[in-house]
């Protein structure tokens, strides 16, 4: 018996979950490493934005910064956070133990080494090939190897995740089926497996070429494999983000899935069809036939879009049902008005969903429409789109859940709750400005990844972007970027201060509006008591109780407010689809 060391697990006073200490430490380490990289990538963003406004940075360095910013944010920050979330979901949420913790630590070390190798190559100018690394452009072998080590690390983490889940199942640490959040993480991990495998082929080929083992990598074949991960990784982000959305509904409102079956079905659709979307990136490439393009770009009849549309309903519906059960039953939107808008997890959740749906999702489907793709391929529109998906969508959702994960896992009080309350609004506000301006710029033809929009070094000059609205729009891009970075700094500050200065406590929910576990039971008991008093008073004064005043024809609806909201969203979608085709019709006839 080990009496001298701390027990391998503890019971969380807030959630009631049994928390395995190995799982806790590993989840925390991966999340914190992710936050460090987020901070680094954010600093690069400042420089990239200021160069546009005249900060003297050489072209060479600007491209290095863009390359590193892309890899740091898209690969390292998001995937490290996701590995942390996988460890968290497969241990804490299942009351289960972390299997093979030593392997997990070695794996973590390997990922860190991979990151350092890739960053060294990028920042010393040995790998200015961008995240896409299209051959025949070549980089130093250390870049490819670094990214490969990192990717293999994520692959191993996914396998550890499945091992944890299977062990929990065998040891019966949870009853029946997996919680919906863990189910969503399973979807993310399955998508990660096949995405990372195709990515390993793509970068593996380039690595072999860089050390002279093979001579030539066919550029079109490479693109097919690369986008298996380039797009696939974004689908991992999507699935993980949806899982986090469900978790935030549970943490901030005490929500439950309105229909478990439907939400799970949507995750299945994602697993089955979303990888087809990788062809979005090849829509104006030579070498592919029409049916191939249409079948794949439509995710086979848009079945993966259907999955997103299901979640777009299910998650707000879960919020609405939870709020109505709390007594906000009156009008169509009283539940929304009375929602905890000051709770950082809730505001992050709502801003992330709204932004992901209205901007990211809609622009994504438009870009992925075969003929429309000609209008935006490689313009700043694409950059606007993916800042809407992975930054205001995924990153904001991850920030939101951090406000609960970090205190729960580190058993410390969140420091800077006031700053945390403002943070999602500042961050999302900056991103609204940034992405809207990028989308407009892309429509005007502004290309991505171009150091000098005045083309001052070209023999045949291009003055298109020096005059007209473009300079003003690029200024707005920079302002949005700086504001978003300010929101990012607030987030990093709260995280760092909590870890370094947060007071140790066994009730880390202090200061936060937790609506799950012990705090939720306490709240319900108090509400019941209050209700009892109110009923007694109402009997005395003969007041009629507040009734449900939603329109009669929606009486059978579980979430009438949500139904109206999603119809409004669909209307926006339809209008944008028509506008995009009007734009297409104005271009030269082409075919």
């Amino acid at each position: 018996m080990t009496t001298l060391t701390a027990p391998p697990s503890r019971v969380c006073n807030v959630t009631g979950f049994v928390i395995d200490r190995n799982g806790q430490r590993l989840a925390l380490a991966n999340v914190v490493a992710g936050v460090v990289l987020l901070a680094f990538g954010g600093s690069l963003a400042i420089l990239i934005a200021l160069q546009r406004q005249g900060l003297p940075i050489s072209d060479d360095w600007w491209y290095r910064l863009v390359a590193s910013h892309g890899a740091t944010m898209l690969l390292f920050w998001l995937l490290l956070f996701e590995v942390g979330a996988l460890y968290w979901g497969s241990t804490m949420l299942l009351n289960a133990r972390m299997r093979l913790p030593r392997l997990a630590w070695a794996n973590f070390a390997m990922m860190v080494v991979g990151i350092l190798m890739a960053q060294w190559a990028m920042l010393t100018g040995r790998a200015t090939v961008m995240f896409t690394a299209y051959p025949p452009l070549t980089a130093h072998w250390a870049y490819y190897l670094g990214v490969l080590l990192f990717a293999v690390g994520v692959l191993v983490a996914c396998i550890l995740f499945f091992t944890n889940v299977l062990t929990a199942r065998r040891e019966r640490t949870y009853e029946g089926s997996l919680p919906l959040v863990v189910y969503g993480l399973v979807a993310a991990a399955v998508i990660a497996l096949y995405s990372l495998l195709t990515g390993a082929v793509a970068y593996g080929l380039l690595f072999l070429q860089s050390v002279g083992v093979i001579e030539n990598v066919d550029p079109a074949t490479y693109r097919l494999f690369f986008w298996g991960i380039g797009h696939g990784a974004q689908q991992v982000n999507l699935a993980a983000m949806v899982a986090v959305w469900y978790a935030l509904v549970g943490f901030t409102l005490g929500g439950r899935p309105v229909n478990e079956g439907l939400s799970r079905f949507a995750f299945l659709l994602l697993i089955a069809f979303i990888h087809l979307g990788a062809v979005h990136h090849l829509l104006v490439d030579p070498g592919l036939g029409t049916s191939h393009r249409i079948m794949n770009t439509s995710y086979l009849l848009y079945l993966a879009v259907l999955a997103s549309l299901i979640h777009a309903f299910s998650i707000p519906a879960a919020m609405e049902v939870a709020q109505r059960e709390r007594g906000y039953t009156q009008r169509l939107f009283t539940w929304l008005k009375k929602a905890p808008w000051r709770e950082p997890g809730f505001s992050s959740l709502v801003l992330s969903i709204v932004y992901f749906g209205f901007i990211a999702g809609v622009t994504g489907v438009l870009m992925g429409t075969m003929q429309l793709n000609m209008l935006i391929h490689n313009t700043l529109f694409v950059v606007g789109h993916f800042h809407a998906t992975v930054v205001s969508g995924t990153t904001l959702a991850f920030m939101g859940i951090s406000y609960y994960l970090l205190p729960l896992l580190s058993q410390r009080r969140l420091v800077g709750v006031r700053m945390a309350r403002w943070q999602p609004y500042v961050f999302a506000g900056g991103l609204v400005i940034l992405t809207a301006a990028m989308l407009v710029a892309g429509q005007l033809g502004v290309p991505r990844r171009v150091a000098d929009l005045e083309y001052s070094g070209s023999p045949i000059g291009v003055t298109l972007f020096e005059t007209g609205p473009t300079p003003a729009i690029m200024l707005i891009v920079s302002i949005g970027a700086l504001m978003a970075v300010a929101g990012g700094i607030m987030y990093v500050a709260v995280m760092v201060l909590t870890l370094l200065k947060g007071e140790h406590t066994d009730r880390p929910d202090a200061g936060l509006g937790f609506a799950f576990g012990t705090p939720e039971r306490e709240r319900r008991a108090a509400a019941q008591e209050e209700a009892a008093v109110a009923t007694a008073q109402a009997t005395l004064t003969a007041e009629a109780p507040t009734e449900d005043r939603r329109p009669r024809r929606w009486a059978k609806f579980e979430a009438p407010g949500t139904y109206v909201l999603v119809l409004g969203f669909l209307a926006w979608f339809v209008v944008m689809y028509l506008v995009a085709h009007l734009n297409l019709a104005r271009a030269w006839p082409v075919g």
Binding site: F17, P136, L137, R293, T369, N378, T379, I460, Q528
Partner: protein, 205 residues
């Protein structure tokens, strides 16, 4: 958030740890569901699912419909070609149709309706093309070194250019003027000087 509304749907929350649940209010997205979790869809869910699926089918057929009604279609025709062979074809094409020079680059006026070569390489598109308005040309595009992006401005039509692949892009300029081509696929440290030009002559509309 404190509520000033009477809690009419007063939850009856009790029950011990998170792993147990009795009524609906003890369910959570974070906890295992009931044993039987496939339940019938509510009326709002059923309607939304139907509407959403119909919209997905419209999006899908939309691409085929546009193939029937639109003038702007994704080019499909493409061939494999060795970069050296392509460079030789471009050379021959320029020799045959060159009419002048502009900023050191050959200006070429191919006959209307003909095949027109356009070469992308680090860091220029060549030659400068002089086309007639409302005539259709088959642009034969490829790269002799790395990947590039052909971005025709301000028309804003964008295509990927790969070495080893010949992409046939049929265009019909429908307005006159000078139309710069910029490279919008990162192709090396001179990416931001990579430009080209199409001049469209003809009567003003």
């Amino acid at each position: 958030m404190a509520s000033d509304d009477p809690n009419d749907g007063a939850p009856t929350g009790k029950g011990p740890g998170p792993a147990h649940h009795g009524d609906d209010t003890e369910l959570s997205t974070l906890l295992p569901p009931r044993r039987r979790w496939w339940t019938a869809l509510g009326p709002d869910e059923r309607r939304w699912l139907t509407i959403a699926f119909v919209w997905c089918l419209i999006l899908f057929t939309g691409m085929y419909v546009w193939m029937g009604i639109g003038d702007q279609q994704t080019p499909i025709e493409s061939y494999r070609i060795e970069p050296d062979d392509f460079a030789a074809e471009v050379e021959a094409f320029v020799d045959e149709h060159q009419i002048g020079e502009r900023e050191g680059a050959a200006v070429v006026a191919p006959p209307p309706g003909s095949d027109v070569f356009l070469q992308a390489n680090q860091f220029a598109f060549r030659p400068v093309l002089q086309l007639e308005r409302d005539e259709t040309y088959r642009l034969l595009v490829s790269s002799t070194d790395v990947q590039h992006g052909l971005s025709l401005q301000p028309v804003n039509l964008n295509f990927q250019v790969l070495p080893g692949y010949l992409y046939v892009i049929e265009i019909t300029p429908d307005r006159t003027g000078e139309f710069p081509i910029i490279c919008n696929e990162y192709c090396g440290l001179g990416h931001h000087v990579m430009t080209g030009l199409i001049v469209v002559d003809g009567e003003e509309a």
